[in-house]
Each structure stands twice: as C-alpha cells, then as structure tokens.
Amino acid sequence: MHKISVNRKRLLTFILLGWALILIGDRIGELRQYQGAFVAMYALAIASIILLTGYSGQLSLGHSALMAVGAYAGALSINNLKLNPVIALIVAALVAGIFGLILGIAAARLSGPYLAGTTLALAISLPTIANQFTILGGEQGILFDIGTPPARFGEGFSQYKWFFWISSLAALIMIWMISNLMHSKFGRVFRALRDNQTAAQLAGINVGRQKAVAFGLSAGVAGLAGGLLVMLISGVSPSAFPLSLSFSLLTGAVVTGVYDLKGVMLGGLVLVAIPEIADSIGSRVGGSDGFTMALPGFLVSALLILAVLFLPNGPGKLLKKKRNKQDNHTEGNK
C-alpha cells in the first residue's frame, strides 16, 4: 500500500511540473524558451549519466557518442524513412539503447578506468566514422526538422516555444519513467552493483547482465537527449558531438549530485547559464586579447572545481539522508 502511494505521489509531482513548465513557457520570451529547451535536454542527458554512474556505478566518458548515435538515428528516420518527428525521437532512444546494450555486454567485465578509457576512445572515434558513409551527410550533416507548431496553437506560438514544449515534455516523461524504475527492484539491483559487486553476485545477481542493462538504459536516455539536441540545432553533424560534451555532462552530474535525479534540472540550468554568464562577464571586463577570450573558460572551470571541493556529493546530499530514512522504513515493511 505504502509503495503504491509513493508512485502516485511521484506521478502527480511530474504532472504538476509539466503543467508548471507549460505555464512558464507562456510567460518567458523566445530566447528563454530556446534556452529552456536546452536546459531540459541537458537535464535529460545528465539523467542518463546519473542512471549509469550514480545508480549502477559505471563511469562513462563517452556519452557524447551515445547521444550522437541517437541523433543520427533520429535524423535518418525523418529524412530517409520519412517518419513522424515524434516517432523519430523514440527511434533515437531505441537505437541508442540497443547500441548501448551491445556496448554494455562487450564492456561488462571492465571496471572503473578501463570502462572510462573505452568510452573515451568511442567518443573520439564515432564522430569521424560519420564522415565515412555518405548517407550520414559528412560534415554538413543531415537536417533534423521537427516541423512547425500545429496550426491550432495559433499565430503567436513560436518555433522556440514548440522546441520548449517538446524538449521539456520529452525530458519530463523520460525522467519520470527512470525515476519509477529506480524506485523499483531494478533500482535496488543497480545500487547493489554500485556498492558492492561481489556481494551482489553472492546475492544471485547476474552482475554482467545487469551492468549491460544499465548501460543500455543509460544509452537510450542519452540517445533521446541527442535527438532533442539536433532538433534544437536543426540538424546533426559530427562536430556537434565533441569530447567536450561528454565532459560537460559529467560536470553537470557532479555539480548537481550524481546520486539521484532530483538535481538534473539544476544541472541543465548550470550547463546553459554558466557559460553565458561567463561570456558576459568576459565581454564586460577589458584587458588583453588573450585575457578576454580565455576568461569564460577560466570561470567555468573555476566553478567546477569549487563545486567539487565544496559540494562533492551535490546539493542533494542532505536529501539523501532523509530519503534513506524513508527507504529503510519501506524496506522494514516488506
């Protein structure tokens, strides 16, 4: 009984959140709508990292490549298979998920830095592969056109607002689904993998298989985020998924707490807002060429280091203690 109502509470929260976002979308200007769409997309991508690292304890430096797989799958579905854009986003998630599953199976025996190295190598090599096959459009890439907002929304409904709606709702739905998953038996299994693999194995968990599943799920989420990204920039090309994107996602995950999903929206906001704030500080401060150009990078990195030094477990740390108490209570009632 207790468990069911927790799920219902979560569903209600997400529905309220969705409603709030739609209302917000009406009030903010076009630029903020566009940026908001990016926030949602990054939040989703960060969620994929949290799913993989915070929940199942695997470190990936290559999520930019997984996003790219989803992005190309989505773009190809629209252009070559002429699918509906919404279906294309689902295809993006599925294809990336399957790719991630295969990768996860191959990498199941790899621990910590070895997995990290593999994903790093994947991240730098996948974009160049896109240039090998003409169907992938080379450097110019493939167009990804989500289409204009439906006519019934009226004249005033801008393209940016449409982006905002699609991005936010896609992210919301996906994060809700993951959240449910993580509060179920799946989540417990993943956390067992993270905390103590040997013990998990002794408890009868097929460690290799579960690790691969976690990887596949994480990849699917990343693939959807990749599809959203190329929707926002209206097309996919290899250079849209540089290694630095992987690092940014990790940064976002750490800054907002790698252990649970609550902070992802804040993480997305950080990834969008901080570079822009740094940019504007940089342009206001004078000084030599080298100084003004390097300043934004400096500020972003400094923030990152401060966050790691002072909030290594993210602002959600305090909440974790509270939730642990709740969880223990739930466990006791089993």
Binding site: A106, G117, I124, L250, D289, G290, G297, F298, S301, L304
Partner: protein, 298 residues
C-alpha cells in the same frame, strides 16, 4: 620497402611520446587512483616555461631542465593543495571515481585559461636542439632524424631510471607500498601522503619531458597536448593501468597500430583504430595486457 621502414620508424617515434604521457598517467593512477586529465595542461604549461627559458638563455637544454623541474613542482603542488583536500571530502561510493576526474578536468581548463592569459592564444614554435633532418642511408633520406634518436634515447633512459627507482630503491618500495595498500604502509612508518605527492611530482616531471620532446615536432598552444593525452590514456589502459611496463607496451602498440593503419589503409581511421585496438585487448584481458592479477581492489 621504404614505406614499410618509414612506418616502423614513425611508429617508434610516436610510440615513444605516447609512452611518456601514459607513464605519467600510470604513475598518478598507481599512487592516487585518479585519472589525471590535467596532465595535458601541466605538460603544456611546463613546455611554455621551458620555451621562455630557452628563448631567454638561448639554450634548449636549460629550457628542458626548467620544464622537468617545474613539472615536478607543479605536480607536487597540485597533489598537495588540490587533490588532497578533495580526497579528504570524498570518502566512498561512485563519487570517488567521478569527482576527481571532473576535478582534474576543471583543473585542465584553468591551466589552459591561465596559459591564454599569459601567452595569448596564438601558436608558438620550439626549435629542437639537434637536427630534425632525417639521416641519410645510402642515398635515401629516412624518416628518422637526430632529434628522433634523442627522443627515443631520452624515453628509454627515463623508463630505465623509473624502473630502477621503483624496483631497487627504498623510495620506490615506499611508492609501491603506498599505492598497493596505504593503511599497511602507514603502519610500517611510511609517510603515505608525502610519498603520494612524490609520485605526482615524478609524473609531472615526466609530463614536462614529454612536452619538450613533443612540441618541436608540433606547435605550442594551450590545447597542444589534448590529443596526446587521449592517446596516452588509451595506451595506459591497453597496457594495464597498474604497470609501468604496460604503459610503454601499450604506447608502442598504439603507435604502431595508428601509423600502420593510416599508411596502409586510410588516414581517416586514426581514431577508430585506437578504439578497435583498445576494445580487442580489453575483450581478452579486461584489466589491460600487463595488469597484475593480484592488484588492489578498485
């Protein structure tokens, strides 16, 4: 035939440089369990310092010494004042894996920004101390110059010195013990913290040497060693992160694979080759080629 010889020679040269980077990464990994992405920034920074000394004194050799010494100093400083506070705050869980990675990434960004502040964003060149023209063997010029020879010799000497240090000296024993089991090492009276900082210093010095040996064949700019870091990391993983010998072996394997595939197949496949080699090795040996089976639990 000449193409084949060239491929071998260029692979050796490339592998040697990767070896220095992978060694530095392995040194830090063994002592702190951290993948130090800031290595790319440290190495470039120390090369800038070496460059300034070279320009002012007119001698590459003074610059080299400056780079190695400043590398050691910067490495030690980073461990003492940056990594140590971080580890004090992070004790357990997956955050132990990910937070230091992100922290070193942040550090990389800061170092590159500082370089931009001081030296601007344009490219500099560093002249090699010996000729970079290829040796002439019975009328044909081969892709191996006195400078390539110097690089190969320097790397070999460095690896020999490091091996002697680790296997034959007390300090080396302390370094290995602290990495293998810090608690027991502490009980034996080893100052684990100081020893760890020494490990970072040696890694920093190796990075400084790497930069001064690499940059004459490339260009000096803030992002100048980013690609090298990626290859160095992949090489270290191929060889097994716990093994210095593995670091060199992995670097050579990677160097040969990349150069041969590029020469005989396609230049477009440079990065995918690295990935394929890596995954082939790890499928067979998940801990890298030369990882010891009784390593410390990760």
């Amino acid at each position: 035939m000449l193409q084949f010889i060239t491929a071998i020679l260029t692979s050796l040269s490339a592998g040697a440089i990767y070896a220095l980077m992978s060694t530095a990464l392995v040194l830090v990994w063994r002592s702190t369990r951290v993948i130090n992405f800031a290595q790319a920034g440290q190495a470039v920074l120390t090369t800038y310092i070496g460059y300034e000394v070279t320009v002012r004194t007119g001698s590459y050799w003074y610059g080299l010494i400056a780079a190695i010494l400043s590398g050691a100093l910067i490495g030690a400083t980073i461990d003492r004042f940056f990594m140590r506070p971080i580890f004090k705050r992070i004790k357990s869980g997956p955050i132990v894996m990910i937070a230091p990675v992100v922290a070193t990434l942040g550090l990389l960004g800061i170092i590159q920004a500082i370089i931009g502040f001081i030296w601007g964003l344009s490219y500099q060149t560093l002249a090699a101390p010996v000729s970079t023209d290829g040796y002439k063997i019975s009328g044909t010029v081969i892709a191996f110059s006195p400078f390539n020879l110097m690089v190969l010799l320097s790397v070999t000497i460095t690896m020999v010195l490091l091996t002697i240090l680790f296997q034959k000296t007390n300090i080396g024993l302390a370094l290995r013990a602290s990495a293998y089991s810090p608690e027991i090492a502490k009980l034996s009276g080893i100052k684990v913290d100081a020893v760890r900082t020494l490990g970072w210093a040696i890694a920093g010095a190796a990075g400084g040497l790497a930069g001064m040996l690499y940059i004459p064949n490339s260009y000096l700019y803030p992002n100048g060693m980013d690609v090298l870091l990626v290859f160095g990391f992949i090489a270290a993983v191929i060889g097994g992160l716990d093994s210095l010998f593995g670091a060199v072996a992995g670097a050579m394997i990677l160097g040969f694979a990349i150069n041969f595939v590029a020469t005989y197949v396609s230049y477009k496949l440079v990065f995918p080759t690295a990935f394929v080699i890596l995954i082939l090795v790890l499928l067979v040996k998940p801990g890298g080629l030369f990882s010891s089976s009784k390593g410390r639990k990760d």
